[in-house]
């Protein structure tokens, strides 16, 4: 039950049905990171998928950008309450990346340069639901926003879309990542308002 806030009218009323509960529409592109922005030279960039059996699939920048890429336009929702509609990305679908990967893992830990991690159920990465994105708005993805490449999982709160991602590790059991250990929700569905542990 909510109490009425005396004298509060609200100025940002946004009737859009595309706005999840508790979110407001941002027109700029705010940044959420736990620390400084790493700068990763493309000739040292690498991305890999590590299966639960220890098998590793690795791509360097040239191999990665030679994979078939998709242009996607999606809404994104940050746990700090802003949402941004119609953001345009280019990236490789995880369906493409997992094509030749043998795995029985049900969960994935995404690892980033700098030590950031976040956990996602494997099924949330497949069937056109997630990408490794390397362009934003027609430009190379800026380091501040996770460049050279970041995970993009628009149907979950944006902290799940790990910036500077360099590895996906398959797991049998779900484990908390960085923000999840710091009190944020294990799954993070914006439509269920799963912001914090216990939501």
């Amino acid at each position: 039950m909510s109490i009425i806030s005396r004298g509060f009218g609200g100025r940002r009323r946004d009737p859009s049905p595309d706005l999840p509960p508790g979110q407001y529409q941002a027109h700029d592109f705010p940044v959420l990171s736990a620390g400084p922005t790493p700068r990763i030279p493309l000739d040292r960039w690498q991305f890999s998928i590590l299966t639960e059996t220890g098998e590793e699939h690795t791509w360097d920048w040239k191999q990665f950008t030679a994979l078939p890429a998709e242009d996607v336009t999606v809404d994104i929702h940050c746990v700090t309450k802003w949402s941004k509609f119609g953001t345009g990305w280019k990236g490789v679908s995880l369906d493409t990346l997992f094509e030749d990967v043998e795995t029985a893992g049900d969960y994935v830990m995404a690892h980033s340069v700098g030590g950031y991690t976040t956990n996602v159920p494997f099924e949330d990465l497949l069937d056109g639901k997630a990408w490794i994105a390397y362009e934003y708005d027609g430009e190379p993805l800026h380091p501040e926003h996770g460049g050279p490449a970041r995970l993009l999982i628009p149907h979950l709160y944006f902290w799940k879309s790990a910036k500077w991602v360099d590895r996906l590790r398959m797991m049998h059991e779900d484990e908390p990542g960085f923000w999840e250990n710091a009190g944020y929700h294990m799954y993070g569905d914006p439509w269920q308002e799963q912001r914090y542990h216990g939501d």
């Binding site: 705010p30 736990a34 400084p36 501040e144 710091a182």
Partner: protein
Amino acid sequence: MATVRETREETGTARTLVLDIPEWAGHLPGQHIDIRLTAEDGYQAQRSYSIASAWSADSKTVEISVQRLEDGEVSPYLTEVVEPGDQIEVRGPIGGWFVWRAESTAPVTLIAGGSGIVPLMAMVRARGRQLFRLIYAVRTPADVLYADELRRRAREDFGLDVHFVYSREVPAGWPVPPQRIDIAVVNTHGWPPDFAPDCFVCGPNTFVEVVADMLVALGHDPAKVRTERFGGA
């Protein structure tokens, strides 16, 4: 649920709210609360506000300080409309990364831009014997939150060093003209990387981005640089 016990004007555009929260079980300096406002027709707005106060077991109050953004939705309400006795829906404490733990013995560098001082002030207020250096960037002297308290603490407490950087207007007799925070300021008034300080940077997004980059350029371990971005440009 919180009840506003008291309000205090910090500057012409910022105000501290002292909240009574009976079920409050404590917090760590650096954490924030989420505030949810509800209009008569059910419309709701939520925002995050850092906790400014240190916690002590005998107090059930939590202080936040809100900087008014003229065209904002929530901050004008909290700085102009709310009165003692009003009830506010809060949730928290939230955040387990941008926190300073009193058990830590490392020296601490705090760098605030504007209202980014708020969670850093909670750290200053909770400080024990650790050595703290605070760099506080503001536009003008009139924009300084907690001005008297910071001056008093810096004077009485030799373990706390406070350095102000003014970008638009300096106090009378200030030795340098208005300047933006730069790498020389961070190098001179923060702890050197050799001391392996814990660094906390808080403020508007661009400020945090720029300052965190400076710390890394100076040789600080990125893992020791914790940031909190308040939003805005």
